[in-house]
């Protein structure tokens, strides 16, 4: 305990509330309130309605949601596979090799998403890999962007994994492939789950690279939110944003449930 006096403590808590509530809690509440309103000209929104939601689960909105979900799941699965493979391969390499591999897979974090979008656009708009105009270019860009995070969290988990399990397995006569399948991957499962949740959330909210790449028939939710607000439909945009947040939260919740069941210690 840092502050011992009652007044001191209340002052600290008041300061916290004054900073925290308007900056972090209010924005999310405001979006939620707006999504149920038709007007906002004054201190509070008015004209309560659920119409934005009935619209949000139909037509192009529903399509955008499924587009986002498919994109996020596909990108996460590919990213997790590639990222985990790379992390495992890096862990088996010597110190130098590991650093090179880690640096390579970390690079997409440092490169602006817009530039990733531009690079993918430049590279895949020409034969032999003509993907521009298809959904695959969006999925590909998302995969690139989230692979780095998958790799980062899985390699951190591998570093935390006590080598004694691997050694115990080896002393019992298990070959490396058996150790990988029966010991390492099961022990990494909680971290893989967490990484999957992270990838999914990032992909669901991705806007920068998507704006450069999306074809008309593959419009993810964030793009739809932007076009809605851009043409002034702030309340529809808010409802879509709530749908986006809810979908992300649900997925994270599901993943964390798996994680608690899969954590052994």
């Amino acid at each position: 305990m840092l502050v011992h006096s009652r007044t001191g403590r209340w002052t600290a808590w008041a300061l916290f509330a004054v900073l925290f509530v308007p900056l972090f809690a209010l924005p999310l509440l405001v979006i939620l309130a707006a999504s149920f309103s038709t007007h906002w000209s004054g201190a509070f929104p008015s004209g309560p309605t659920a119409a934005h939601y009935t619209a949000a689960v139909r037509g192009e909105s529903l399509q955008a949601l499924t587009t986002s979900l498919i994109t996020a799941v596909t990108a996460s699965v590919i990213a997790l596979t590639v990222g985990t493979w790379a992390a495992l391969a890096a862990a088996a390499l010597g110190k130098k090799g590991r650093r090179v591999l880690d640096a390579l897979f970390m690079l997409p974090v440092a490169v602006p998403s817009v530039v990733v979008g531009l690079a993918v656009l430049v590279a895949f708009s020409q034969p032999p890999m003509l993907l521009n105009g298809t959904r695959w270019i969006v999925i590909l860009a998302h995969t690139v962007l989230v692979t780095a995070f998958a790799h980062q969290s899985v390699s951190a988990a591998i570093r935390r994994l006590d080598p004694m399990y691997e050694q115990a397995a080896a002393s019992l006569g298990a070959r490396p492939s058996y150790v990988l399948l029966r010991v390492k991957l099961p022990l990494l499962l909680p971290s893989l789950n967490a990484a999957a949740g992270l990838c999914f959330a990032l992909s669901m909210g991705e806007l920068s690279a998507t704006m450069m790449l999306y074809p008309p028939d593959w419009t993810p939710l964030p793009v739809l939110i932007f076009t809605a607000t851009d043409r002034g439909s702030l309340f529809t945009g808010s409802a879509l944003a709530v749908v986006l947040m809810a979908a992300t939260l649900l997925a994270l919740l599901a993943v964390s449930r798996i994680r608690t069941r899969a954590s052994y210690r």
């Binding site: 502050v3 924005p27 405001v30 690079l107 531009l118 690079a119 430049v122 947040m245």
Partner: protein
Amino acid sequence: MPTTVPVWLWALPPVAVLAVVFLYPLALVVQESLAPGAYAEVLASVSFREALVTTMWLAVASTVGCLVLGFVLALVIAFVPFPGGKAVSKFIDVFLSFPSFLITLALLFLYGTVGMANGIWTDVTGDPAGPFRFLSTPWGVLLAEITYFTPFVMRPLLAAFSQMETAQLEVASSLGARPLRIVRQVILPEALPALAAGGSLVLVMCLNEFGIVLFTGAKGVTTLPMLVYGKAILESDYAAACVVAVVNVALSVGLYVLYRGVSRRAGA
């Protein structure tokens, strides 16, 4: 007995995938940027220079704001515990998983011309036009960036604080040190690595932020990522877009390397 595959061979498939989908495209961007005259033209243009300056000062100011705000908030959560503190930490984790542009969207309702703040002003003073009209200026972007990125500073800080020995604080306060003195002489030195790591991460992310600026919809605020988007998609000037992209990548990769160095030393 099958001959065992050399270890480095296992690293090839993922590296090959990365090369095709990321390294090769990035190389193409660099190649495209080398079109004759592209650099000279872009670097000489006013819009580029303005975007560079705007991007830099916004990123630096946001980072400073996030550091100060994040430090104060994390300090209260960790050392002046209150019921619900755990829930606040959870909330911060959730906050991190939402896209950044939601903040700008929310700010439109809070500080927009017909938003909550101006509405309250009108109700109180009777003045039909409220005083809050900073949203479409760089200040709006700054507020949104500080809001969105502060949790990225708080997370490593909270982790660092949770590892701090409370005994140290108790000894310090038993020796008669006042809270502010303890913060300055005991907590701050311990938190410096986490602050440095979190701060440099936020700096890089601010340099690369796109969603917040796009949603602000302000013509007056152009950052480097916005310029890349504008040149490529709106003007179809790919050579210029690639030049801006290379400059942006150089800036942020340079800073990211710095961040990795700092966070490795901090053990994060």
